[in-house]
Symmetry: C2
Subunit: 442 residues, 2 copies
Amino acid sequence: MSKADKKKAPDRMERIVNLAKRRGLVFQSSEIYGGLNSCWDYGPIGVELRRNVKEAWWREMVWSRGDIVGLDCSILMHPRVWEASGHVSGFTDPLVDCKKCKSRFRADHPDVLAKHAETCDGELTDSRQFNLMFRTFMGPVEESANVVFLRPETAQGMFVNFGNVLDTQRRKLPFGIAQQGKSFRNEITPGNFLFRTREFEQMEMEFFVKPGEEAQWYDYWKKERFDWYLRLGIKPDNLRMREHESDELAHYAKGCADVEYKFPFGWSELEGIASRTDFDLKQHAEWSKKDLSYFDEESRERYVPYVIEPAAGADRATLAFLVDAYDEDEVEGETRVVLRLHPRLAPVKVAVLPLMRKDGQPEKAQEIFAQLRPHMVAQYDQAGSIGRRYRRQDEIGTPFALTIDHQTMEDGTVTVRDRDKTSQERVHESDLLAELLRRITG
Amino acid sequence: MSKADKKKAPDRMERIVNLAKRRGLVFQSSEIYGGLNSCWDYGPIGVELRRNVKEAWWREMVWSRGDIVGLDCSILMHPRVWEASGHVSGFTDPLVDCKKCKSRFRADHPDVLAKHAETCDGELTDSRQFNLMFRTFMGPVEESANVVFLRPETAQGMFVNFGNVLDTQRRKLPFGIAQQGKSFRNEITPGNFLFRTREFEQMEMEFFVKPGEEAQWYDYWKKERFDWYLRLGIKPDNLRMREHESDELAHYAKGCADVEYKFPFGWSELEGIASRTDFDLKQHAEWSKKDLSYFDEESRERYVPYVIEPAAGADRATLAFLVDAYDEDEVEGETRVVLRLHPRLAPVKVAVLPLMRKDGQPEKAQEIFAQLRPHMVAQYDQAGSIGRRYRRQDEIGTPFALTIDHQTMEDGTVTVRDRDKTSQERVHESDLLAELLRRITG
């Protein structure tokens, strides 16, 4: 980042956080009690935005393909799952304490340690491994036999159900299993708004392939997933693919790449695509003593499939779409805040606005509002000048605003205002629904 | 229940659980590790069924109305929330232990205690209060300052955000806030498949009204919520409304009623509708020292709104729709298992089946499959006799099956088979999409 960029960056992020709070996209969790660190609540507008992000992913990954099925596993899983996966022994961060000021730091973050040394001359303890999984106790007795973890990822749910899917869905390789759901990580240093939180929503897919075919499918999924963000409107300049160096890879991995987004706080991971070999299935087969192999009827071979895993975060993706859409421009001599969201992602698709609160315009507007509402998220607004009402919709990214005016009462046409161009055109009310649906999904 | 019903009941439930496992609706969580008590995973078919139940609720409660907004709060909330709500002190079950066999029981379940006395002569301990909230520790140190709870209900998220919604959404009373999401209760005796689980998904709405208007809105929501299940196909004979006796009511409640479903294991609660007065908002106002009142511009009064709360369970609703839809009849001399699900709820809307694997029929079927897939969940199947393929779709409740046969290749018509009537009619491929959409949403 250049110096000028650095100066601009926090301002932009702050403005987005403020807009999110002011317009009901995102609130701090338990705010009236002072908030809960790094936990966030999606407000009436934000909940629709994230729903749309998740729905776009599910539509793309499950419904519109023939080779991926969905799954929804419980957050609480058998503790052995996390022993087999390696999370109990290896999902840790190294921590040190300052003996003087009692602060706690990541031992592997030299910049944080250096900053501490500037303000305190306390000695640090040796570093200890701290497991990032949240623990809780199931059943009425708190004893170790009942310890369960909040899952730190959804992926293991797909691996432990691989046999169930094979047995019930009559699938041939290659095929995938997709899941969306909450995961929890007891991060030492959460932060950057929705970017790194202790409770977050994942969108993961495990694609099972014949060993030897993993390289082509790894390339395929890298391209697919990168393009998904572009198709939903992310600016190409703000997106890049970063292939991991070989010393970053887990011992079993054949490759890993991150889709990165240029956030105001720097390039950061949106999604990881990993070529994981047969590591996960073999681990679970060994620990559970269950057969998790696949019989290939064409080649008459039995083998454990290899896996390609695109793992995305719903909250990170929502933040990226929000940041990317945030814009300020000048309209009629005034600065306008506008979210240029893809119509598919926009929380509200259309606003219905009577120009005047008389001459039957509110009644006509309510009539049109009632017609559209079963088909798309719509808002009705009759308070304030038409200019102010447009601005309110621009701020939450509503792509279309309909104005019902005196001409509507005469010829049945309404004006359709385009959020991005701020231009208007008249459409007859009988064509409205089809026209709006075409523009939203087209 | 009559004796004959009792004998039949477990069989029917068992057959439904078996179907759920065999066809990929519901698997036991972590099954390869012996399962995790009372936790369930939704398989490829079940995940779509529950998605449809949740979507139908959201559509009804949020999108198609003008007076309810959505919200999605974090599962982890500030611990003070649960002190204010009364859950820390009062969300408990009384437990006793047997000093001899070490078993643990609900002290308020005399039938369970009597059953124990038949098999063991051990003395019971005094009863103790056991809190049902799951506890975990946030941040790297396990000490009491960091204890947080997994929410036992989503409702408190709406109450603590009442001010945020008021400030940002320009709403006038009456209006509601709706939320769907996971909750957790450390039940002593979970059971009955999806009915009582320790991790479950709620669909709750808080409707805020002017004090004095609560009676009419209580009646309104009882009727609305009862009718919702009927509109989605629940048989009227299997649904009833049970008004609570006054000695069942919480001290602050003005009324409470349960929508009950006649499960094979007996009439059980699907959803509760409660008239909660201003209890929750006043508690949070007191504990947080924040003003949670509303200024009524019409009457120029300031007051704390009263609340009507319809609280449903997504898993219970899914189970009820599944149980209600399960049927066995006779088709062509054979017993057929069929899920008579409402088309809106059906996991798969349409199956595309080439009659023969030759003469261009599979290619034509794939072409039609590709056309329909972007608009509805569809399956392609060419394996086995056409009769067997119909049965497979009947078992998962697919309302329509298309067969591509020799006549299709000549005149472009396909047969559309109706799951319930098992009758067929020919529809031209150019009319298929519109016709199917009409039947699914109509």
